[in-house]
């Protein structure tokens, strides 16, 4: 299978993971390791950036997983930019998952603030991966200001509802010149496989692994689903037909003309 390239990094695994909601950090580390994920996101608000022994950071650094600090908690562009700068300084990475949700109930991303923050962060040399709606125009605009990838949602975050934004994701994937990472809403390995079959470049999964009864086994299931979905995409899915094909060609008469 082909490697995924985002910014200056290459990834063998197309499964990105999150670090929240696990019952302890050892389980988090084990699940991420088993998932084969090479990029894990963590909320700046949850980690103690001044402590290399931090419960969340330490096992990831030890396992060689790339860190993707996120700006969860930011309600506007100003907060998010400030948080990204802090994370860069403390964690030594210029990668950032840009998340701006002014709405604490459904955690919907703010498209206007996200675009403004993305533009500024790119100017400041960040590798910006913005979490956004499955909005094809917004994704193009984010690409145009220099985002390294786009992360449209499959369904409301934490909902485990799957790829409910399917028709819009199709357009986004079709149009994109940067990797498309389907983020949020993926609740089962079959959802992840579906996103990959559609041609998404990667998926990000957190709740579905962390809140599973057996997070480690679920992490493995996601690893396999993502690989299988990608393999199917690269193999070229046979086209679907929804009705029987007429046995006598409809245009045969042209030969007689």
């Amino acid at each position: 299978m082909s490697m995924l390239k985002i910014g200056d990094k290459e990834f063998q695994s197309r499964l990105f993971t999150g670090t929240g909601k696990f019952s302890n950090s050892a389980l988090m580390a084990e699940a991420i390791q088993v998932s084969g994920s090479q990029l894990a996101t963590m909320a700046l608000k949850r980690v103690d950036v001044n402590d290399q022994q931090d419960d969340i950071l330490q096992p990831l650094i030890h396992a060689g997983v790339n860190l993707l600090p996120n700006t969860s908690g930011a309600k506007n562009a100003k907060d998010a930019v400030f948080a990204a700068q802090l994370a860069r300084e403390a964690l030594g990475t210029n990668w950032v998952k840009l998340e701006i949700h002014p709405d604490p109930k459904y955690l919907m991303p703010d498209p206007i603030e996200t675009l403004a923050a993305a533009e500024q962060l790119v100017r400041e040399g960040f590798i910006v991966l913005p979490y956004c709606h499955a909005d094809p125009v917004l994704c193009k605009r984010l690409e145009e200001v220099g985002c390294a990838a786009v992360m449209p949602l499959g369904a409301p975050i934490g909902s485990n509802k799957g790829i409910v934004s399917h028709d819009f994701l199709e357009i986004i994937i079709d149009q994109a010149n940067v990797p498309v990472v389907v983020d949020a809403g993926i609740g089962a390995p079959s959802h992840a496989a579906r996103a990959m079959e559609m041609g998404a470049d990667a998926v990000l999964v957190n709740t579905a692994i962390a809140a599973a009864s057996d997070p480690v086994a679920m992490a493995k299931a996601f690893k396999m689903a993502v690989e299988s979905g990608r393999m199917a995409y690269e193999a070229g899915l046979a086209g679907q037909v929804s009705h029987a094909v007429a046995s006598s060609p409809l245009t045969a008469f042209l030969d007689d003309l």
Binding site: K21, F82, G158
Partner: protein, 375 residues
């Protein structure tokens, strides 16, 4: 427009009657729905729901895990002053109680901060009585920035303030404000708040509106269970939450459900007997009902409850807990017990509560905010 205008459409007795009129069928319908409204909430807190408690607990557990994961946030109250110009029948700080009054100065607050930091807390709730001149904005202006320097998340449970005062405190680092209505029954409210500014039911009722307009990140509401018939009072808290979420979509909300406990004092009002007694089983029912009604709201449990109850109810919907609380000003840095606002039931240390949380399979979260998002 404020919640007061919305509130006027509700008639206490009608609501109370409709809660008690709910049937098993109403409960089953509520349980089967993917999203539940205030009528469903009534069914879930009604006596008709009692046989369904196990089912409610299972649903509540799984909704809470989906939203909050296997985590439990921890916070600690920091009592700054027990001065109070209110007379409230249920509170140890009531002005009528002849007790030693104390307001911490900067050095004393600094000592408390250090003691709290040693216990690992990063989320602190400042508590005071109500005293405009000695513990008012001037005092908060002095203390909030100093305390905020050492904690990422700062909450307050003090007298209701004006909107511009909240906006100013936000700029100094205040993140959350808890303001419990105590009871949503106006005449019962009047019976329990005998003197002082707290007598103003409407000003208190409209406080969450002012908080949201001032842009405070999190607003905590609730009723003091026992002052009035608990089912109806808790319905009002749910209706308040519903109004707030619809009106102020950028604010975060939490609900508390303190049960009336014995308090200190030799005033004639001490030893207040709850008008409505809520059993442990009913508190579990309420917690699950709040969760089923609102999967996103934070539910907070204090050390008023016993260790055994807290340990067992922890997975059923709660998202944050206090631990190692001392309710007298200066209680962390000094050992002597002077005067408590109410008696603590769970006297375990922060470390042993942390161990308990881990043993239950949850990750204790000390820190879930960065001060960069404040102000």
């Amino acid at each position: 427009m404020s919640f007061y205008d919305h509130f006027k459409q509700f008639n206490w007795d009608d609501i109370s009657m409709s809660i008690y009129a709910k049937t098993a069928k109403d409960v089953e319908r509520a349980l089967a729905k993917p999203k539940r409204d205030l009528e469903d909430f009534k069914a879930l807190i009604s006596p008709a729901a009692e046989p369904y408690l196990e089912q409610m607990a299972k649903l509540s557990y799984s909704l809470t895990r989906k939203r909050f994961g296997n985590t439990m946030s921890l916070y600690i109250p920091l009592y700054l002053s027990n001065l109070c110009a209110n007379a409230c029948t249920y509170c140890g700080f009531s002005m009528e109680n002849r007790i030693k009054r104390r307001t911490l100065n900067k050095e004393e607050v600094a000592a408390e901060i250090e003691a709290i930091k040693r216990m690992k807390f990063d989320n602190v709730l400042l508590v005071t009585g109500e005293h405009e001149t000695k513990v008012g904005m001037k005092y908060f202006r002095e203390m909030v920035p100093m305390i905020k320097q050492r904690f990422n998340y700062l909450a307050m449970e003090v007298q209701p303030l004006d909107q511009d005062e909240y906006a100013e405190l936000k700029s100094l680092g205040l993140d959350a404000v808890m303001v419990y209505q105590e009871t949503y029954h106006p005449s019962t409210y009047a019976e329990h708040h005998l003197r002082g500014n707290k007598m103003d039911f409407r000003y208190r009722l409209e406080t969450p509106d002012r908080l949201a307009r001032a842009g405070i990140d999190k607003i905590g509401i609730g009723s003091l269970i026992g002052l009035e018939e608990w089912r109806t009072d808790c319905f009002f808290a749910a209706a308040h939450l519903d109004y707030l979420e619809r009106t102020y979509w950028q604010s975060r909300y939490s609900i508390s459900f303190p049960r009336l406990r014995p308090c200190a004092g030799n005033a004639p009002t001490s030893g207040l007997q709850p008008k409505s007694v809520m059993t442990d089983k009913q508190l579990v029912q309420l917690i699950c009902a709040y969760r089923l009604f609102n999967p996103e709201v934070e539910l907070s449990l204090s050390t008023r409850e016993s260790p055994k109850f807290r340990d067992n109810v922890l997975p059923l919907g709660i998202t944050s807990m206090s631990a190692a609380s001392k309710t007298q000003p200066g209680g962390y840095a000094t050992e002597e017990v002077e005067l408590e606002q109410f008696e603590i039931s769970d006297e375990r240390s922060a470390a042993s509560v942390e161990d308990m949380i881990r043993a239950k399979g949850f990750d204790p979260v000390w820190r879930d905010w960065h001060s960069v998002y404040s102000g």
